[in-house]
């Protein structure tokens, strides 16, 4: 028997550009006048996204940039089966007292964000942690909601949402893939 995989494009390159612009505008509104702002992208695609946001924000706001590899903080980590990394997170500034915005491409169960928050709190004590995502696809398993959201997308629990970014995939696009 053959299964049909349905693939639906939800964002094209132009739309992704516009969403990043919108996110940057909203962030500026909330963060303007604030000191010590830091955008921290969750690897892999959140890191690229956060870089693009930093490029836009830094024209109007002093903003630090860092990236986070959350592997050691995952709640389902099996040390003996997974590929692990040390030192792949790159935050070279003091997090204490900062206004931190975590950035990721897709918000789903919220578990990745929980891991990122725990990791951040091991590294320092920011004044506040916000969350910015390009796509919120729902199905949260933890009480987490985005502060800045590009687009809300209705999905089934079993769907996959894939964001492709030029830096990694050569193209800016997003898909919902249904089994």
């Amino acid at each position: 028997m053959k299964f049909l995989v349905k693939e639906k494009r939800i964002l094209n390159s132009k739309q992704i550009d516009e969403l990043i612009d919108t996110l940057a505008r909203r962030m500026l509104r909330k963060l303007a006048g604030g000191k010590s702002v830091a955008l921290i992208g969750i690897k892999t695609r959140g890191a690229y996204l956060s870089k693009r946001l930093v490029d836009k924000l830094s024209k109007k706001l002093e903003v630090h940039h860092g990236t986070l590899d959350i592997i050691l903080y995952r709640d389902d980590l099996n040390v003996l089966q997974e590929e692990l990394t040390i030192g792949e997170s790159d935050i070279s500034f003091d997090l204490n007292g900062k206004t931190v915005v975590l950035v990721d491409d897709v918000l789903f169960t919220g578990r990745t964000v929980r891991a990122a928050i725990d990791q951040i709190l091991d590294l320092g004590r920011p004044a506040v942690i916000y969350l910015a995502v390009l796509v919120d696809r729902g199905h949260r398993e933890l009480p987490i909601s985005p502060t800045f959201c590009g687009k809300k997308v209705e999905t089934q629990r079993g769907d996959r949402v894939e964001v492709k970014l030029k830096e990694k995939d050569g193209v800016d696009e997003a898909y919902v893939i249904s089994p």
Partner: protein, 414 residues
Amino acid sequence: MTEATLDLKIDRKRLEETLNALTKIGMTGKGSQRTAYTIKEMRAKEVLTHLLRRGGLEVRIDGVGNVFGRTRQGSGPVVMIGSHVDTVPEGGRFDGVVGVASGLEIARTICESGITLRHRIEICAFSAEESSRFGVGTIGSAVVAGELSAKDIEGLKDKHGHRLGEVLARLGRSHDVINSSKRDPSEFHAYLELHVEQGPVLESEGKKIGVVSAISASTRLRVRFLGRADHSGTTPMNLRKDALTAASELILAVERICKNEVKGVVGTVGSMNVSPNAMNVVPAIVELGIDIRSILAESKKAAASLVLQEAQQISKRRNIELEASIIKEDEPVTLNEEIVSLFEGICKSSGAPYRVMISGAGHDAMKMARITRSGMLFIPSKRGLSHNPDEWTDLNDVELGANCLLQAALRLAT
């Protein structure tokens, strides 16, 4: 050395913050548990890479997960300041971490002072200094010193049967990557380490600094007496082959030999397995783990050989079979005399009460001493406690130790 550099002091508050940031990971009430290559230990290294980057240092992780942070200024061979962040299970707050945190603080203090460095300063947290997981300690420093290769360590197993080779493979470390962690002696100008004493000598003498002149090494013996299991009620005393009474004789002999017969050694029977270990059975098999240490290779050898002779005599006298072997024999290490004198001079001029002493425990400095001139400072451990959650060292002593090491690093690196 100018007056300015002699007056240079580390930032106590920042050092305390670094210590807290590292010991927060794997905190167990009063103590710490960051066993080598477990999530907790890796998270502590992750925190360390952040702190090193924040301190303006260049970060690098090698094939066995050793974490390095280098100053950008300076060139040529490095002055390395190292120790470890892994702990024994239910370990203390200070063992290892004090040296790494102080190293980072020293590097930051020097970088901020604007002093010109001739040599780069490189901070290191070595992997698996404690032997508690894989049965072998100072793995990270031994690989850097070229004493252990990927082949030597891949088969090491923990108590769950997990091989170190597999653990490192999860970290993306292939044989080639592990072996490339070996560094050439020409890359080093000197190695320095600050560590808690883990013994009672400094406190009992009212000293604040121990200048380590040598690090003792251990010879480890495994001795098995193979007697016979018999009914404890029906077997007359003269017809028994009691492995435990034989072992008891040897335990006392180890004490006698190391106390009275050979000078400059300490000996411990630290483990014993009795089989079948039942109250109504004459013990059939007893296995002893014996640890003999000294800074004198000859004395250690002499003591080990007397212990083995004694075991043979007991076995013959009691007509009980014996299996005895040396499972590990390390060479003691003498630390660099010039650095010892340098440390002494610094203690004298700063008025820090100190003594020159030997280290009874193994340290990363022991491995680094094989490839570069190395020096080590101890600071007091309250009641001599270590490998224990109650391990304690006063922050004033950590600060004093770090300032003495700072002066040594300045003299070596500028």
